[in-house]
């Protein structure tokens, strides 16, 4: 993606120095806790819970082995991956349909829909945690569909959490894609759905990637609902990590080690998607 150079003139020293200072400070701010995580994860427990040292006196990789024994980390990781992955895919597909409808059609209730969707962002999660659990249990009792304690229930919940913002972003994104494109496709004999998949979606790949990242991170980090709606077999990482803090001990070094281990794949995925992300995230908001 071409990066628009701001000015053909060389930037003045004042700007270059400001840039150096600002970026150094921000990088320091961001990396400080990361450094603490890395260094603490390499210390024995006795050293971690003592006075902070910049340079560890005793190094050990033992925490990286212990993390798998203390809690079933691998299981939690897989659960999180399944839940966040499915929620992301479903959320994006549903958001694409909705955004397409809003962007390309005028129909009654359009404004009500968009406003209602935005207003869901104002509900405090606490307000509907218990009611939602009740609904899941009742659906379970009347249909046999086990939503509580299952990954399915969590997936439904998370995909809905990310839906409103995703729809809003995609509406703006689709609006910015010229209507001539899908109209031309329809002239060629495509139905509206095929026009969506053949023309609009390919043109909106950056926006869709951006929404996917957002949806994934929403599901990946959620703690409150997961703590009540999962059990042994379906517990996600976000709550599972708390298992390193028990009634009498906090295994600081293991918490840090485990956090790093599970974050590496996510960060790597981020880096791979970055090029799309940058172009995608705002186009929706720009509208």
């Amino acid at each position: 993606m071409p990066s628009p150079a701001r000015s053909p003139m060389a930037a003045p020293q004042s700007f270059l120095w400001t840039r150096r200072v600002v970026l150094t400070l921000l990088a320091g701010f961001v990396l400080l806790p990361v450094y603490v995580m890395i260094s603490s994860s390499l210390k024995p427990l006795q050293d971690v819970s003592g006075k902070f040292q910049w340079v560890p006196t005793r190094l050990t990789v033992q925490p990286y082995f212990d993390i798998w024994e203390t809690v079933p980390l691998a299981e939690y990781f897989v659960n999180s991956l399944i839940v966040a992955g499915s929620a992301t895919v479903l959320s994006v597909v549903i958001a694409v349909f909705s955004a397409y409808a809003v962007s390309r059609y005028s129909f009654r209730g359009k404004r009500v829909f968009t406003v209602t969707v935005l207003s869901t962002q104002m509900f405090p999660g606490i307000l509907f945690l218990l009611p939602l659990f009740l609904i899941f249990v009742n659906i379970g009792n009347s249909t046999g569909l086990a939503l509580y304690g299952s990954r399915g229930g969590l997936i439904l919940t998370y995909l809905t959490f990310s839906l409103p913002f995703s729809i809003w972003m995609l509406i703006g994104y689709f609006d910015s894609i010229p209507k001539d494109l899908d109209e031309a496709a329809m002239v060629d004999g495509c139905g509206p759905i095929r026009a969506l998949f053949r023309v609009v979606v390919p043109a909106a790949v950056p926006g869709i990637v951006a929404v996917s990242v957002y949806a994934f991170m929403t599901a990946w980090g959620e703690v409150l609902f997961a703590s009540v709606m999962t059990n042994d077999a379906t517990r996600t990482l976000a709550v599972g990590l708390q298992g390193y803090a028990t009634q009498n001990d906090v295994y600081w070094n293991q918490v840090m080690a485990a956090s790093l281990v599970v974050s590496v794949p996510v960060v790597a995925g981020f880096l791979l998607l970055q090029r799309y992300l940058v172009a995608g995230l705002t186009a929706g908001a720009v509208k």
Binding site: F123, P192, V278
Partner: protein, 335 residues
């Protein structure tokens, strides 16, 4: 500023590719004309509407119903039987002369201050970083990756690390401020007492600003290059260009960005909960924790729901006013 850098040619070639695999696409069921004409948009919205109803709206309505009932430990097991209390839960919550109302008001004000600074700083950091990274230079890609790390770490891990750093006797923060720089006579407390709100803001900004950065960085990509070239021919320096072109061009993004940051930060539960546990210090008693305490911890779901509904009403009003103010003048062009 509604254009996006979509290359029509790219879309065209994509179209050709998908035409190549058109055979598979043909299996899509044909939708009868009648539905297609009027019903298709509704059909497309159906999954979203159903999910929003199931997960957001109906639970919210149940929550509102709960707020009119005396839903304590005596009734949660059979809460169809919980007595109706009319507006009692509300009148207790807004009686600011009694301790419960007073604490709620205090918590509300703390949350307002917290949200103002957390959103403001997140936005400021995001803008600064995005502008500084607008031009290509060595290390740009690396920094961009670094700045996204807080967004990718699990919330619990990130916040527990900050809590670890904020410990008074053994934490890194006091180690630097007190032991190494000697800025304070006594090591300060960060997790209790008056400083706790600073700790909370710092953690919230650390976690929240990468999202602002991402949005703003992407918005910058859409500013037409010609604008800068024209300005530069007029003799505008780089600072002037930032003031006259970059910042005004970000306005539409800012409108949505600030709104969602505001809503998410105001309702944020995870950060204070992991940082302080079940009982936040008075100075950092965010409304979400306060409501959690008034419902889950003290087993009084009616009162907690009433507080949630009040919060919802407040946010609705703020959002409406905000959208009205920021959209004035843009509405005409938009419709």
């Amino acid at each position: 500023m509604t254009a996006v850098t979509t290359d029509p040619r790219a879309a065209e070639s994509d179209r050709e590719r998908s035409t190549g695999t058109g055979g598979a696409r043909r299996r899509l069921p044909r939708i009868p004309d009648r539905i297609r004409r009027g019903g298709l948009p509704y059909l497309l919205l159906l999954p979203a509407v159903l999910l929003e109803l199931l997960i957001h709206l109906i639970p919210m309505i149940i929550g509102i119903v709960m707020s009119f009932r005396q839903l304590t430990q005596f009734y949660i097991n059979n809460w169809g039987g919980a007595p109706w209390t009319g507006l009692d839960n509300y009148s207790i919550a807004v009686d600011f002369n009694a301790p419960i109302g007073e604490a709620l008001l205090h918590s509300f004000l703390v949350t307002c201050v917290f949200t103002f600074f957390a959103v403001g700083l997140s936005w400021l950091f995001g803008v600064a970083a995005a502008i500084m990274l607008q031009e290509n230079f060595r290390g740009r890609g690396f920094l961009r990756a670094v700045f996204l790390v807080p967004y990718a770490l699990p919330v619990y891990a990130a916040v527990i690390t900050w809590a670890f750093m904020f410990q008074r006797d053994n934490g890194l923060v006091n180690h630097v401020l007190h032991d190494q720089l000697g800025l304070t006579d006594q090591p300060s407390f960060w997790l209790i007492g008056d400083n706790s709100i600073y700790a909370l803001i710092i953690v919230s900004v650390w976690k929240g600003w990468p999202f602002a950065f991402l949005m703003l960085m992407a918005a910058l990509q859409n500013i037409p290059r010609e604008l800068y070239e024209a300005a530069s021919i007029d003799g505008a320096g780089i600072w002037q260009q930032i003031r006259r072109i970059t910042l005004p061009s970000l306005r539409p993004v800012n409108q949505v960005l600030v709104l969602v940051l505001f809503l998410w930060t105001f309702n944020d539960f995870n950060t204070p909960y992991v940082l302080f546990g079940k009982s936040a210090p008075e100075n950092a008693d965010l409304i979400s924790i306060h409501i959690y305490q008034s419902s889950f911890v003290t087993w009084n779901f009616g009162s907690g729901s009433a507080m949630s509904v009040l919060l919802l009403l407040f946010l609705l009003v703020v959002t409406a006013v905000y959208l009205f103010l920021t959209s004035r003048g843009r509405r005409g062009a938009d419709a």
